[in-house]
């Protein structure tokens, strides 16, 4: 298989509201910045792929407008996934394996400020039997967190410590939305949103956009000194019905990590997409990441969570640490669906 690497990454700072920006206004700044970093323009790009969902702006075909943020004249090879941008990166990786083109542009965008996101995520459920119950994203996550407590896997204090650590890590991240030194005791005094989940155990709801450029083989080496090579990448899903799963584990993350080869070497850092604090524990266990691994140096999704973009940002943040030489081997992860139903894992390495 051909070697493919991440060679550049750009993001808009995650904030509560990016005021009055439509799709082209989100997409144009990040895609042009990602290309500019390595001296490319859209004319140099072989394939373009994006990830977003119509349910954030609340209208069909919202990605169509995003194309107008690109220089798609003359027409380009382009595709779109109704998934996190990290899955668009997966499609672009597959496309580059063909060998006829050497570069791909991947981007995603999401504005959580446009609607009531936890309630919108109820619409991911079975429409006949579950949606009418009103199970939103936080309630579903609460079932999972409670199952962990019942299984004596973790306590609420553990959840608070994870939230505090992620937001402390984010202090150095200019793009993070929620950052700082937060008191664990103060967190544990917050009222429950849905027992045992408190507000601080949840990721914020952010607006952002992100873009990554992939390049293959020598093209990557020409563009940057130290490409972040994708050594393995795989994604897996689990049954949708929560009742069919042991919510305290993530067999799909475990399998995807195995297929991506996470265990084949020492992992320096991992960027895990855990929208709720307790999920970081499940993901670490599933992927076999021990205490030496620095998890979420960027602050992770608990510090910045633009839906559909938070996963691609994990890939970008992990890649940046390889590109800069701060890490030799990194894990990047993205999840989708209630209670970590679907997971995408990649191993990135420097040369």
């Amino acid at each position: 298989m051909r070697d493919v690497a991440i060679v550049s990454f750009a993001q808009l700072p995650s904030v509560k509201t990016i005021v009055a920006a439509d799709e082209p206004e989100l997409v144009q700044p990040v895609t042009s910045e990602a290309m500019k970093q390595i001296g490319l323009t859209q004319d140099d790009i072989g394939f373009t792929c994006s990830g977003s969902t119509d349910y954030l702006p609340g209208r069909p075909f919202s990605f169509v407008a995003a194309v107008d943020g690109l220089k798609a004249v003359p027409p380009i090879r382009e595709s779109h996934v109704e998934m996190d941008g990290a899955f668009a990166l997966f499609e672009a990786w597959v496309r580059l394996l063909h060998g006829d083109i050497d570069t791909a542009l991947v981007f995603s965008f999401g504005k959580c400020s446009l609607g009531p996101v936890p309630a919108v995520l109820n619409l991911q459920n079975d429409p006949y039997y579950v949606q009418p119950l009103g199970l939103d994203a936080i309630s579903a996550a609460a079932l999972q967190a409670q199952a962990m407590i019942d299984a004596s896997m973790a306590s609420e204090r553990d959840f608070a410590e994870i939230a505090a650590r992620n937001r402390r890590n984010a202090i150095d991240n200019p793009n993070a939305h929620i950052k700082g030194d937060f008191s664990i005791d103060a967190m544990l005094d917050e009222p429950y949103l849905s027992s045992p989940i408190r507000k601080s155990f949840c990721s914020p709801l952010s607006d952002s956009a992100a873009a990554i450029v992939l390049a293959a083989g020598d093209a990557a080496r020409k563009l940057v000194k130290r490409p972040a090579w994708i050594r393995g990448i795989d994604h897996r899903t689990e049954p949708h019905a929560l009742g069919q799963r042991d919510l305290t584990t993530s067999p799909s993350a475990k399998l995807a990590a195995e297929k991506a080869g996470v265990g084949k070497g020492k992992v320096d850092i991992a960027e895990l997409h855990a929208p709720f604090a307790h999920q970081e524990i499940i993901l670490r266990q599933a992927m076999g990441l021990d205490d030496d691994v620095k998890v979420n140096p960027s602050g992770g999704a608990l510090a910045a969570n633009s839906l559909m973009t938070a996963g691609l940002i994990r890939f970008g943040e992990a890649a940046n640490r390889i590109l800069s030489g701060d890490a030799d081997r990194a894990v990047a992860h993205t999840t989708s669906g209630a209670c970590l139903q679907q997971n995408l894992v990649a191993v990135l390495e420097g040369e």
Partner: protein
């Protein structure tokens, strides 16, 4: 490219206005099971699933592949969701074929669906967008001015669109899975009410419930069947909605997509080198427009081919043997139905609407306001 890719299983539901007998999971499972059976496979044989559908908003389920994982036996496997507007069925098949060609997976189940009876597609397609004038009601409102422009430019015979409707409905009568089984005379088509001038009611596609699935495999597994359809070329092209000089009647993206896929398949003259084509024609007039856009006719002359009956089954260049989108339109699946029907032709399994001796076929899909294009060429020979 590490591997060749072949279609060895094809399945589709019976399409109709409302499949009240099937839930959405039931619909996708029905098509998938038929494709597996055709490939002589079971769920266990499948490495990976690639699913496409048009806006999730039609059915009110966000990212429905999460929910449909259970019906598709996806637990423990990768499931991937493509969405590229109306071309999605085509783009989805292209993504699936790339997984095989790149050597990532050996046996991929790809499928697409729409259950329009649980939605109102026309109004879902007519959203009020802040700061933009709301100009259209449904897709016909968008496309009618383009068709008028085509007629003005090419000086086409005014009956051309009606002729396409008569022909596609005649073909649809030969396809037991088609939604519409309507035998209509030219006079009947012409007598139908005008919806969006020059598009009559009889010249529009229906709203359907339906799903289609294909099993795509590499060389090793292609031997399972005696008649695989080999994927000889795939292409996608996208252009912007707004740019100076954009020609929506004969879009640059469509031309480039066709050229790309022909180059890959070694096709120099589509009229000679291709035996038949399933092309996305949701409004009758798009047949002559796409005949030109895809290089089957010189610019301004596509309508003559239609008027002379050359695109009929049994004639020199059959288009939409299955009855096409004009007879069956589960939007998210309509593109993949074109790709699948092209593969059926070269496999020789198209039954009553089979083109005798078809060896090379084109499958085509487009979407949005003609910004998104996907195509593949399939052949009975590797």
């Amino acid at each position: 490219m590490a591997e060749h890719c072949a279609v060895i299983g094809i399945g589709q539901t019976k399409h109709s206005e409302s499949r009240r007998d099937l839930s959405i999971p039931g619909l996708v499972r029905d098509a998938a099971l038929r494709a597996l059976q055709d490939a002589d496979m079971t769920w266990k044989d499948i490495d990976s699933i690639v699913i496409g559908t048009a806006p999730d908003m039609f059915e009110g389920v966000m990212m429905p592949e999460l929910w449909l994982s259970d019906a598709l036996g996806a637990a423990g496997k990768p499931i991937f969701r493509v969405h590229t507007a109306g071309s999605v069925g085509g783009s989805t098949a292209v993504v699936a074929s790339h997984l095989v060609q790149a050597g990532v997976h050996e046996k991929v189940l790809t499928m697409a669906f729409e259950k329009q009876s649980e939605a109102n597609a026309m109004w879902a397609l007519s959203p009020a967008i802040p700061f933009q004038p709301q100009l259209v009601a449904g897709a016909g409102g968008y496309f009618a001015p383009l068709i008028r422009s085509y007629i003005r430019r090419s000086n086409a015979h005014p009956d051309t669109g009606c002729m396409v409707a008569v022909k596609d409905r005649e073909h649809g009568c030969l396809n037991p899975n088609a939604h519409l089984h309507l035998k209509m005379t030219l006079e009947q088509v012409k007598a139908a009410p005008m919806l969006w001038d020059p598009i009559r009611y009889s010249e529009t596609c229906p709203s359907s419930d339906g799903a289609v699935a294909m099993v795509l495999v590499n060389d090793k597994h292609a031997k399972r069947v005696k008649n695989p359809a080999w994927v000889k070329g795939t292409s996608v092209r996208t252009e912007r909605t707004f740019f100076a000089g954009r020609d929506q009647v004969n879009p640059a993206a469509g031309k480039l997509c066709a050229k790309d896929v022909y180059d890959q398949a070694g096709i120099t003259n589509p009229l000679k080198d291709i035996d038949c084509a399933e092309v996305y024609v949701p409004f009758s007039w798009f047949e002559p427009m796409w005949l030109e856009n895809l290089g089957f006719a010189e610019e301004g002359t596509g309508w003559k081919m239609t008027m002379e009956g050359k695109t009929k089954l049994g004639s020199e260049m059959p288009w939409n043997m299955s009855g096409g989108v004009m007879c069956t339109n589960p939007i998210g699946a309509s593109g993949m139905l074109r790709f699948a029907e092209a593969a059926r032709q070269v496999r020789g399994t198209a039954e009553q609407h089979q083109v005798d001796g078809a060896k090379v076929a084109l499958g085509h899909a487009y979407g949005g306001g003609s910004q998104f294009f996907a195509a593949w060429i399939v052949s009975s020979e590797r």
